[in-house]
């Protein structure tokens, strides 16, 4: 039983850290420029396709990952300069409409370029097997994902909490007018943040590609969870995004894994299997409602 819980905790950590890569970019964009970007999940999808295409062309997963992330960053830059700059001045409704259109365009474009069927992306051979930790086997590749997630979290912490750019970002998130008044070009700062967010999306997409499948529409379902994460964590806060991701990842995984087992005591297997995941996803939203009730700004509000 302890082994089961430990393994599920690792699974939750892996899922949570991948959510964090998505939520980090989303929360900064939302927090600093007050811009709702529904197409954030599309950047994740397009990034994954870039990684898969580059990995196939180069016949190396790591080169593919690097090239794909770079490609997504360039795409992010183009999008920011052409489209998003026009959107900041508009209200939330226009932003929602425009970025929703972007989702549809991205899905159709990907379908035209790569076809409707999922694209295969395989992990490097050395990581395809299991490794032994604490007396049981765990997939090596999932450990690599955890390592990447932790490294990015650490890097972001240093960048946001310790560097000068990070100070500007934090200042921009908590009070944009005041920051601008202090002579900081929030517009350029934001371009950098947006590009960085796009690169993180592609990193998440590329890392998850071998585990799941690279396919049209893969960004939509995960986007909802990313929004839940930043609402729990507090909009604009990196620390909030990390804590929120880990909470959502763990609750979702443990709920999905343990609830059906517990429910089996009282219900037939197929009913328990339907109810378990449903309860687990309800649990996430209950959690969100509970946190918002006590802390309406989220756990770590940027504009405290």
């Amino acid at each position: 039983m302890t082994q089961l819980v430990l393994e599920q905790a690792l699974n939750g950590l892996q899922f949570g850290l991948m959510l964090f890569l998505l939520a980090a970019g989303l929360t900064l964009v939302f927090g600093i420029m007050d811009c709702i970007n529904l197409a954030h999940g599309s950047l994740y999808m397009v990034g994954a396709y870039f990684v898969a295409a580059a990995a196939q062309a180069a016949d190396s997963f790591w080169i593919g990952l690097g090239a794909g992330v770079a490609g997504a960053a360039v795409l992010g830059l183009l999008l920011e300069l052409t489209l998003f700059r026009q959107l900041y001045k508009r209200d939330h409704l226009s932003q929602v409409l425009a970025t929703f259109a972007l989702i549809l365009i991205a899905n159709e474009a990907v379908r035209m370029l790569w076809g409707a069927q999922p694209v295969m992306l395989n992990p490097p051979d050395a990581l395809a097997g299991p490794v032994e930790i604490a007396g049981f086997f765990y997939p090596a590749y999932r450990l690599v994902i955890i390592a990447f997630g932790l490294a990015v979290a650490g890097l972001l912490y240093l960048l946001v909490a310790k560097s000068r750019v990070g100070m500007w970002v934090r200042a921009g998130a908590s009070n944009r007018e005041m920051t601008e008044a202090l002579g900081i070009n929030v517009r350029n700062l934001f371009t950098a943040v947006f590009v960085f967010g796009a690169a993180l999306c592609a990193l998440a997409g590329g890392l998850l590609g071998p585990l799941l499948a690279v396919q049209v529409g893969m960004g939509e379902s995960v986007l909802i969870l990313a929004f839940v994460v930043i609402i729990i964590g507090g909009i604009g806060s990196i620390r909030g995004a990390l804590v929120g991701s880990l909470i959502v990842g763990t609750v979702d995984t443990l709920g999905r894994a343990l609830l059906p087992t517990l429910l089996r005591a009282a219900l037939p297997a197929d009913a328990a299997a339907t109810l378990g995941p449903t309860l687990a996803s309800i649990l996430i939203y209950l959690l969100m409602a509970g946190i918002l009730f006590f802390k309406p700004q989220g756990l770590f509000p940027a504009r405290a």
Binding site: L4, Q117, M120, G129, F137, Y138, L211, P260, A269, D270
Partner: protein
């Protein structure tokens, strides 16, 4: 009054004497996008290859095949089927992969008195109480391949089995079929093993981390899984990556271990057992031509889905020829379809009274062939002339 009567009589006369159609229209509605796309694509390609072999004709009449994607979504499937039936007025429908979609589309098709030739989905409902004269399954009843696996796992003497399947009608049929020949209560031979856990996943799920941890905790000596398409690809990959293949023997029905999945997973699938009514190495002239031409045309080995799509077209062809193109004569067309006057690539089989096949099921093992390619190899016969378990409940009208 008399004029009206004459018109009525003339109309009745017209309606009763069916004319030979000038063209046969087929509505092929299948899953062509998303995780289940590989299955639908193979059905489509198999069907198209048959059309090529038949020079684009069904029963000697020029044929038009309308192809649409159901996106594995029951609502989309229903809307498209409506369009096929009402606007395009198709003579046959085929192609649906997933049983939940088949159950959603079926009532409209039957109400419209259009023949549905299923090239895959074989829900137990349509084999038993809800059987319908307008429904034919040219593949199998959902339970059959799982029954064959259950028998194999039982015969090989595995004691603790975990079952993994998606939570939808096809998945439930899988569990019922497997247990019918494995679990001690129902096993005719009196099995000694038991099913220690049944894990139901969401249809279309791609990450199995939580389920694999659960399986590890149960320590089964055999695992039976039924996860079609992309679900199965991910499951096997993650199963091997988690190190579970060291202690647990994998078993699956043919559709979770066919060429589409082997191509994507590769070597980790070696040694896996599965069941099928068809195999690409089956030794008959029709099959040899089908497999060779499929490879030439599409550059890959056909899967059982492709063979079913191919057979569906041959079945329509033979029946249209039988009724001399008078596809409006529904009673005659039904008789012609039941007669099954075509040579299937799986060898001989016949239709039962519920319009599901009575046929052989074979054991296949995934191994390397002479050219070093990882593929299925037929090992032997599990069932001879096997019928489904629901036929007694079918009162065909």
């Amino acid at each position: 009054m008399s004029l009206r009567l004459t018109t009525l009589a003339a109309a009745l006369l017209l309606a009763s004497s069916a004319h030979a159609a000038e063209q046969i229209k087929v509505g092929l509605l299948s899953t062509l996008s998303g995780p289940g796309a590989g299955l639908g694509v193979d059905i489509r390609d198999g069907f198209n290859l048959a059309m090529k072999h038949l020079n684009g004709k069904l029963g000697g009449l020029p044929a038009e095949v309308l192809i649409a994607d159901d996106q594995q979504n029951p609502d989309v499937a229903k809307q498209t089927a409506d369009k096929f039936l009402k606007k395009d007025k198709v003579d046959f429908m085929t192609g649906i992969v997933f049983s939940n979609l088949m159950l959603a589309v079926g009532p409209t098709v039957f109400e419209n008195k259009t023949f549905y030739i299923s090239a895959n989905a074989g829900p137990s409902q349509y084999a038993g109480e809800q059987c319908n004269p307008f429904f034919f399954n040219v593949a199998w009843q959902n339970d059959n391949l799982h029954e064959a696996v259950g028998k194999t796992v039982h015969d090989k003497g595995f004691k603790n089995v975990v079952i993994v399947t998606p939570n939808y009608p096809g998945g439930k049929d899988a569990v019922a079929g497997f247990k019918r020949y494995y679990a001690p209560k129902e096993a005719p031979a009196g099995g000694k093993g038991k099913v220690v856990d049944e894990i139901y996943t969401k249809l279309g799920q791609l990450d199995y981390a939580a389920e694999l941890a659960q399986i590890r905790a149960t320590k089964p000596d055999a695992l039976f899984f039924f996860l079609p398409g992309g679900m199965g690809i991910n499951f096997v990959k993650q199963f091997v990556a988690a190190g579970l293949s060291r202690d647990t023997q994998l078993f699956a029905p043919g559709f979770s271990a066919d060429e589409d999945i082997i191509k994507a997973v590769g070597a980790p699938m070696m040694g896996m057992f599965n069941s099928s009514h068809w195999a690409h190495d089956m030794d008959n002239a029709e099959n040899k031509r089908f497999v060779a031409d499929f490879q030439k045309e599409f550059g890959r080995l056909p899967s059982l889905y492709a063979s079913q799509g191919y057979d569906a077209a041959l079945m329509m062809d033979a029946a249209v020829r039988d009724v001399k193109g008078k596809v409006d004569d529904k009673a005659a067309l039904q008789k012609a379809l039941e007669a099954k006057r075509f040579k299937s690539v799986r060898g001989d089989f016949k239709f039962n009274t519920n319009h599901y096949p009575v046929q052989n099921y074979y054991l296949r093992a995934i191994s390397k062939d002479a050219t070093g390619r990882v593929t299925n190899k037929t090992m032997g016969t599990i069932f001879t002339n096997h019928a489904d378990a629901y036929v007694a409940q079918c009162k065909m009208k």
